[in-house]
């Protein structure tokens, strides 16, 4: 038998997982962020379910700190593929639950979005939430199952994970619980980009190099100047050719200096890159070595 290309294998695995979600759950949802990973999930879902409709809506937890380009992309995509999009706002949760908004120079709503996520799961009684997390992103994620069972508080218990064997996914749960499903668990950042190239998938423009005004932080990160960030006199403001390697909140996602104008440029840049995806761009994971593990245990993706 002739061997297949590894991208075919990864794609087949992801489609298989998406169809398992459709077959095993009553009310699944696809968590869509406007980032490249969830864009790939939508592309895979088209392959898995067309000419039928998706057996799930797209759900976006909008922190209010998103890049405009990502939001526009999100709305256009939902329209283009004619699928249901549900958006819930962290700002509404803050108001309703009288929560403390993020503070400081770069106010993060990263922790706060967990509340909104758990609320939207409860509102629609979602029993499975599909996400674009990958195991290569972070050490805690490397140990999470593809079907990851969460209790009614959304918590992940790494020591109680179900064994996951062959291509058999056990999504059986009790009422109130839900399963987080990660179809592209086995993809790396480079795999995602190779796939985007092969499938010619369109992306929000901020992934590609553009000129942008940024604060050059003391640790050398480039943070976009915007209405949510406190700009002080001592700040070093620079104009640089930058792009985003991940699309998160404007307040906690750093840009990287780059001359990558095309997908091909990005692929060669990544092959040369010496810094990991989260390390390069996420301020929130630098806080502690177990930051992600703790957030996941609390219900985060």
């Amino acid at each position: 038998m002739k061997s297949k290309d590894y991208l075919d294998e990864l794609e087949a695995e992801a489609i298989y997982i998406l169809r398992e979600v459709a077959g095993q759950f009553d009310r699944p949802a696809l968590l869509f962020s406007g980032g490249k990973d969830s864009i790939c999930l939508v592309h895979l879902a088209l392959k898995a379910f067309r000419p039928g409709k998706f057996p799930f809506p797209l759900v976006h937890v909008d922190t209010g700190h998103n890049f405009e380009e990502a939001i526009t992309y999100r709305d256009n995509l939902a329209k283009k593929i004619d699928e249901k999009l549900i958006v819930r706002y962290v700002a509404d949760t803050i108001k309703a639950k009288k929560l403390q908004d993020g503070k400081g120079k770069f106010p993060s709503r990263n922790g706060l979005q967990t509340y909104t996520l758990l609320d939207v799961i409860e509102e629609f009684e979602f029993d499975a939430c599909i996400g674009g997390a990958r195991r290569d992103e972070e050490k805690a994620r490397a140990k999470e199952r593809i079907f990851s069972v969460r209790d009614e508080f959304g918590q992940w218990d790494p020591k109680m994970q179900r064994p996951e064997l062959w291509n058999i996914y056990n999504g059986k749960i009790n009422k109130g619980e839900n399963v987080r499903v990660f179809p592209i668990s086995n993809w790396t950042e480079l795999d995602v980009w190779n796939y985007i190239k092969r499938e010619n998938i369109e992306l929000p423009s901020i992934y590609f190099t553009h000129e942008r005004e940024c604060i050059l932080t003391e640790s050398g990160q480039l943070m976009n100047t915007n209405e949510f960030v406190t700009i002080e006199d001592k700040d070093v403001i620079v104009n640089r050719n930058v792009r985003y390697r991940t699309v998160g909140d404007m307040t906690c996602t750093a840009a990287i200096e780059s001359e990558a104008y095309t997908v091909d440029d990005i692929i060669s840049e990544l092959k040369e890159a010496k810094i990991s995806e989260r390390g390069a761009t996420r301020m929130d994971d630098r806080v502690s070595e177990a930051a992600m593990e703790d957030r996941k245990k609390g219900g985060y993706f």
Binding site: L10, Y16, G52, P55, K139, P163, L165, N167, I168, N174
Partner: protein, 414 residues
């Protein structure tokens, strides 16, 4: 570019995590920020080297505190030749179930042996599990050669001991590499201290080994995962059976039988990503259409009429018990084989496999965590299957506790 999935198994102190760390580190697969974090961590919790490579895979806080690996960790790296997915599985006895998990999808096993200790009970256990799971290639990596002065005699002794032990296991392809993960000998580069070893270093071995798919008959198997019914005006009668070609291949016009109902029909149309194709090979996600209007639901098999699998309500299998709670005789359970689920019971525990000698021992009827037993299973609905050794996909299943929903056992059908 090809994909190779392998897993590593060894004793707690065989240096498994260090070996993986070395592979990643020396193949330039680790980013500088992660190396910085590691250097920082190594100073506080690390064992002895400058950078404790094991910290790369010991991801969870409890593991870092206890210095052990508690769950399967997946790691990814690629070279110009291949993409690799590593399942790093823990060695201690209480985590046999994790090894089963990590090994189930692998095409190659790396079994680590400490050159000072030679073959241990755990080496045997890992090899037996590899045999039960039909892993096509086994590589015995004799590690810590630096601690036995890189002597060939030691290596030869372990090699011959292993081959003697492995005779009974029917492992298809066994290779040996002497190495030191800590010092980097024969991991990415050939060791200058073991010139007597003429083989390839580990990475080159992994890049070049010809991957035999886990022994698959070319018999075609397909199971329905989901029925696509758009029910729109223009696609009013569209009814497509979505699933993956589990093994073999399917072609348009082929005569097929739907199981368990036994109804025959012909493939009217095969679609891949909404395009019609004449032919679909193993592992392709397809949408299959039949000429006749047959009642088919999720979990049904559509198979070539001339090569039917067995379809029965009783069969014997080898299972690994994975739940903390022991098996209760007569306990009603669910059985899942790919997308097919049915109620079932373990009718009889026939024998227990001695995990260190591979002998069948008399069973006292109990099954506890990490026990491997031969059992007789009875299902509520008939199940279509092949022997696991012929077909890894249609011969494997899991058992689920109806009450806790936990996966309590994994099995391979005889």
């Amino acid at each position: 570019m090809q994909l190779l999935r392998f897993f590593t198994a060894g004793n707690v102190d065989d240096g498994k995590s260090t070996l993986i760390g070395r592979l990643l580190y020396d193949s330039n697969s680790i980013s500088t920020d992660i190396i910085e974090t590691l250097t920082r961590q190594s100073k506080t919790t690390g064992t002895n080297t400058e950078i404790d490579l094991a910290l790369l895979t010991d991801g969870l806080r409890a593991e870092r505190e206890q210095g052990i690996t508690i769950d399967v960790a997946y790691k990814y790296f690629s070279t110009d030749k291949r993409k690799f997915i590593i399942a790093d599985t823990p060695g201690h006895i209480q985590y046999t179930r994790n090894m089963f998990t990590g090994a189930s999808n692998a095409n190659l096993a790396i079994i680590l042996v400490d050159a000072r200790n030679g073959i241990t009970d755990q080496t045997k256990r890992h090899s037996i599990i590899s045999a039960i799971l039909g892993i096509p290639h086994v590589l015995v990596c004799i590690n810590k050669m630096d601690l036995v002065n890189y002597t060939e005699d030691k290596y030869k002794q372990i090699e011959s001991d292993y081959l003697t032990f492995a005779k009974q296991l029917n492992l298809k392809d066994i290779s040996f590499i002497p190495a030191s993960a800590l010092a980097g000998d024969n991991v990415v580069t050939k060791s200058a201290k073991m010139t007597w070893y003429k083989g390839k270093p580990l990475l080159e071995f992994l890049e070049t080994i010809e991957i035999t798919e886990a022994k698959q008959t070319d018999v075609s198997r397909f199971q329905v995962q989901y029925v696509i019914r758009p029910q729109t005006d223009e696609l009013h009668d569209y009814r497509g059976f979505a699933g993956r070609v589990v093994s073999g291949s399917y072609k348009k016009g082929q005569r097929v039988t739907v199981l368990p109902s036994g109804i025959e029909s012909t493939i009217d149309k095969l679609e891949v990503n909404q395009e019609e194709v004449e032919f679909a090979e193993t592992n392709t996600p397809i949408v299959l259409h039949l000429k006749d209007d047959v009642d088919i639901s999720r979990g049904n098999s559509i198979v070539p009429t001339e090569y039917l699998p067995r379809t029965e309500r009783e069969f014997t299998a080898t299972i690994c018990w994975m739940d903390n709670a022991s098996y209760i005789p007569g306990q009603k359970i669910l059985l899942q084989q790919n997308s097919f689920r049915t109620k079932a019971i373990v009718k009889e525990v026939i024998s227990k496999v001695d995990i260190h000698s591979f002998k069948a021992l008399d069973s006292d009827g109990t099954m506890n965590l990490n026990d491997i037993c031969k059992v007789l299973i009875k299902t509520a609905e008939p199940i279509s299957f092949d022997s696991y050794l012929d077909n890894r996909n249609s011969g494997s299943f899991i058992l689920i506790n109806e009450n806790t929903n936990n996966t309590i056992a994994a099995g391979t059908i005889d």
